[in-house]
């Protein structure tokens, strides 16, 4: 056998930068990095000179100055004396509220439609197909505009609810009336819903940086407690099942535990509803949900639900028919089969694309501008930008916030994904 001789040490040649696998990738990367750095510095220097030319400076000080405008839907304390920063948060909360509600509703609707699309019922299957195709192939913007128009054109004006003296005398009914036992009024400017009021106020404690409303805290605590007890009940049921094979009936216990304490607390605090009432121009009392919000929510929900329906359908269809047959053959009932066999598997297929739909929905809330919904885009990227003329700062800040939201959502997605991978060889 031949004996290997020592490899002579190679001296470094310039051509090795390109032809040697060890250096080649480093060369390319340094080259790319250099280009990138050049590009970025070019952008920055342009920006600096442009700012100079326009006599502007780059700072975020304006965020602390008075906003001066009003926002129709402010879920955190806000008035036109608040700062632009507060306005930003009002917008952010508005964005998140629509996004969150939209995700929940779109998921519910999407799952229902996806399942119905698979239904053996010919008519329903066709209807759902029409629904899905219609929403998937027409721009979201159109649905937003359309639902806004529908809401504001087909609903009565507040004064249609008014009963004038003559009408009362003549025993005539007003042109419009409230719904749900006279608690909800849908007018062409919004939906007035009752708001909860308490006879007993628990007050609030000031923690310095923020004040905590004790009533809300009490509710949170009670609900958390109920949920915890309910979980104990279920755990006990499971333990019993494991020990004896018999699963005790728990649904009434759960109901009791979940709703009993909350009801008790409400009664204790003297909860009652403040029903909206027609006063002056508008309904007063209760909570006004503006149509810009409702329209945006409806359109986002319907639009995203069409996509979710497709995801759900694909997820369920991805599960081999053999799985349910095997379950049936073992004597499992269809309901159990769904719960124990089909859903756990389908969810793994469904969840990743579902989350990216959530991501899309969240980003699409920015179209609220079409119906003048004052979300982040409407406050920070709209009125604030307009009144202060700080487009560079406002836009960058806005992108950063959207980016953060998206990254958080996708981080959660990845976490979930890696935790549910089916093990394979």
């Amino acid at each position: 056998m031949a004996v290997a001789s020592d490899v002579p040490k190679e001296s470094f040649r310039l051509s090795m930068l390109i032809y040697d696998t060890r250096y080649r990738s480093i060369t390319i990367q340094i080259f790319v990095l250099l280009l990138f750095a050049l590009f970025v510095s070019w952008l920055i220097s342009n920006t600096i000179s442009n700012l100079a030319i326009r006599g502007k400076e780059f700072n975020f000080g304006f965020l602390w100055s008075r906003a001066g405008y009003d926002i129709g839907q402010a879920l955190i304390p806000y008035s036109n004396d608040s700062s632009h920063l507060t306005a930003l948060f009002v917008g952010l909360v508005n964005t998140l509220v629509v996004a969150l509600l939209g995700c929940v509703l779109a998921t519910i609707l999407g799952v229902i439609i996806g399942v119905l699309r698979l239904s053996k019922n010919w008519l329903v299957g066709r209807l759902m197909t029409v629904y899905v195709e219609m929403f998937r192939n027409v721009p979201l913007l159109l649905w937003i505009l359309l639902s806004y128009v529908i809401l504001s054109e087909t609903t009565p004006q507040p004064r249609d609810f008014r009963v004038t003296d003559e009408m009362a005398a003549a025993g005539e009914a007003p042109a419009a009336s409230m719904m749900l036992f006279d608690t909800v009024a849908v007018t062409n400017r919004g939906t007035n819903i009752p708001s909860p009021l308490f006879d007993v106020s628990l007050g609030s404690v000031d923690l310095g940086f923020m004040s905590v409303n004790l009533t809300i805290l009490a509710y949170i605590l009670v609900i958390a407690g109920s949920v915890w007890i309910n979980r104990r009940i279920l755990a006990a049921a499971r333990a019993r099942q494991e020990a004896t094979g018999d699963r005790p009936v728990t649904w009434w216990k759960s109901l009791l535990v979940l709703f009993g304490p909350v009801i008790a607390l409400s009664v204790g605090l003297g909860l009652h509803l403040e029903i909206p009432e027609l006063k002056g121009f508008n309904f007063a009392g209760g909570i006004l949900v503006a149509h810009s919000f409702t329209a945006l929510l409806i359109a986002l929900t319907l639009y995203t639900a069409a996509f979710i329906a497709e995801i759900v359908r694909a997820g369920i269809m991805a599960i081999n028919r053999g799985q349910s047959e095997a379950a049936f053959a073992l004597g499992l009932r269809p309901g159990r089969t769904m719960n124990l066999i089909i859903l756990p598997q389908a969810l793994r297929v469904i969840i990743p694309p579902l989350i990216s739909q959530f991501l899309n929905l969240t980003k699409n809330t920015s179209l609220g501008i079409a119906v003048s919904y004052l979300d982040l885009r409407g406050t920070l990227g709209g009125i604030t930008l307009n009144q202060t003329g700080r487009e560079l700062e406002c836009m960058l800040l806005m992108m950063l916030i959207y980016l953060t939201i998206s990254l958080i959502i996708s981080a959660l997605m990845n976490l979930y994904n890696s935790s549910v991978q089916i093990k394979a060889r």
Partner: protein
């Protein structure tokens, strides 16, 4: 042997169909009734409105009078007269009316340019599509006020293509390659030499690459080619254009991009962005798959950034911020700026889609390519990408559909998209103030037809590619 028997009555005919499809079990029966109720209420709500449609009127109030006159007090009816009066704005925006043939021609030729890509290797379908294009152009060009010479020229060209499709279909790809320049020239007009000289830049790039690749290897020669092309575009392009234009002027009337609007704008933005986003998306996907850390990080950063922010903020970047990032006093067309941002947006989404396709390829394919001595770029081009792209076709097409729908968002930066921009203009007109359902329905229907068509085509493609190989 027993002969086969017909199934019992319960297994046959309408009864069985109804029983199985509509009334199997109480739950299904409820669903069916609910479905019928939904259809009924939709029909009763909308039917009178449709039936009372008015097709000719001068203004909305006239429409309403006609409806009241024909259908009685309080009746509602659609006022399609508005579409009849203003349809050209929904389709073309403010594009000069005597030049409508130019976008029509550009759009028709788009299909001729796509044909060899869509129906690679299928002579019959290819000819059918080309024939259809010729037919459609023949009937639309004249009403769109095209000069007769143009019509004749176009027909001759298409006839040539159809002939070529029988012999050397691959040659048609050359038309595909020059189409972008042709389209640009048709739409924006101006001297023909502008696009021609600009396209020569690509010739320079390709020529340099081919000349050098033997000596310097693909990467270096590609970089050199790009650099030379850049030099061409930055320094040679403009003077050369002026010189040639001085010698042989040949121009179409210039159209400014602020005259673009309606579906012309949507399609221009959509098609351009789709065309350019595909190669960028591929590069980004390859970069993201690369094992070079810096390249990978940059690509991931770019993709995640673009995907993390709403398109509307990118559009605002185009209209508000790009001016900050570019050297002082550079100023270019807002449509172009929007197209650039939309392209980057689509590219990031495509990159993710294509990455999925790349990841789905078995490692063996890479190894086999390596073992045969193919270098990285050849392996990608010949082995990996054709397969990865094929796998991702459905996802790519749905990205395209999404992109096309998203072109409506340009309304927010003051461009005249068909949905909000044109509608708003029309409604600013005193005659049509107060109209809202009709434009939405009209525009929505057109979007639906286009997007639905695209999704059906992708299904067809998927099926076709499957039967091809297995």
């Amino acid at each position: 042997m027993l002969p086969p028997m017909a199934p019992p009555v319960t297994e046959r005919g309408v009864v069985k169909w109804l029983r199985e499809n509509l009334f199997s079990g109480w739950f299904n029966t409820i669903l069916t009734l609910a479905g019928i109720y939904v259809i009924w209420s939709l029909v009763t709500a909308a039917l009178p409105w449709w039936l009372n449609s008015v097709w000719t009127a001068e203004s909305l109030s006239q429409c309403r009078e006609i409806v009241t006159a024909t259908a009685g007090e309080g009746a509602t009816g659609a006022c399609w007269a508005m579409i009849r009066e203003r349809w050209h704005q929904f389709l073309f925006g403010f594009y000069p009316q005597d030049a409508y043939w130019r976008p029509v021609l550009a759009f028709g030729l788009l299909f001729a340019a796509m044909a060899p890509v869509l129906f690679a290797g299928q002579k019959r379908n290819l000819s059918v599509l080309l024939g259809a294009v010729a037919l459609v152009l023949l009937v639309t060009l004249m009403p769109a006020s095209a000069p007769v010479a143009v019509v004749v020229l176009v027909m001759a060209l298409l006839a040539g293509f159809i002939a070529l499709a029988q012999v050397r279909p691959a040659m048609l790809l050359w038309f595909t390659a020059i189409y972008p320049a042709l389209c640009f020239w048709l739409l924006w007009g101006g001297s023909i030499w502008v696009p021609v000289v600009a396209m020569l830049g690509f010739v320079v790039m390709g020529g340099a690459y081919l000349a050098l690749v033997g000596r310097m290897g693909p990467t270096t020669s590609a970089v050199t080619g790009v650099a030379l092309a850049l030099v061409w575009w930055l320094f040679v392009d403009l003077p050369l254009t002026q010189v040639i234009d001085g010698i042989a002027p040949f121009a179409l009337a210039k159209v400014n991009s602020d005259q673009f609007g309606g579906f012309l704008l949507a399609i221009t933005i959509g098609v351009t962005a789709i065309t350019f986003s595909l190669p960028i998306g591929i590069l980004l996907a390859l970069g993201r798959q690369s094992d070079m850390l810096i390249v990978k990080t940059l690509c991931v950063g770019f993709i995640e950034f673009i995907r993390g922010v709403p398109l509307i903020t990118l559009l605002f970047t185009a209209s508000l911020l790009l001016q900050y990032f570019l050297p002082p006093n550079t100023n270019f067309d807002i449509i172009l700026r929007v197209i650039i941002l939309v392209t980057l947006f689509a590219a990031a989404y495509l990159a993710e889609v294509i990455r999925g396709g790349l990841a789905a390829l078995p490692r063996g394919q890479y190894e086999a390519a390596d073992a045969l001595g193919l270098d990285y770029w050849r392996a990608q081009r010949l082995i990996i990408l054709p397969q990865a792209l094929k796998i991702s076709i459905p996802a790519i097409v749905s990205t395209f559909i999404g992109l096309f729908k998203d072109t409506t968002l340009v309304a927010f930066v003051g461009l005249m998209d068909p949905l909000k921009g044109v509608t708003q203009i029309v409604r600013a007109d005193i005659d049509w103030k107060g109209i809202y359902w009709e434009p939405y329905i009209f525009v929505g229907a057109i979007f639906f037809v286009i997007c639905f068509g695209m999704s059906r085509y992708s299904m067809y493609l998927e099926r076709k590619l499957k039967t091809d190989h297995r």
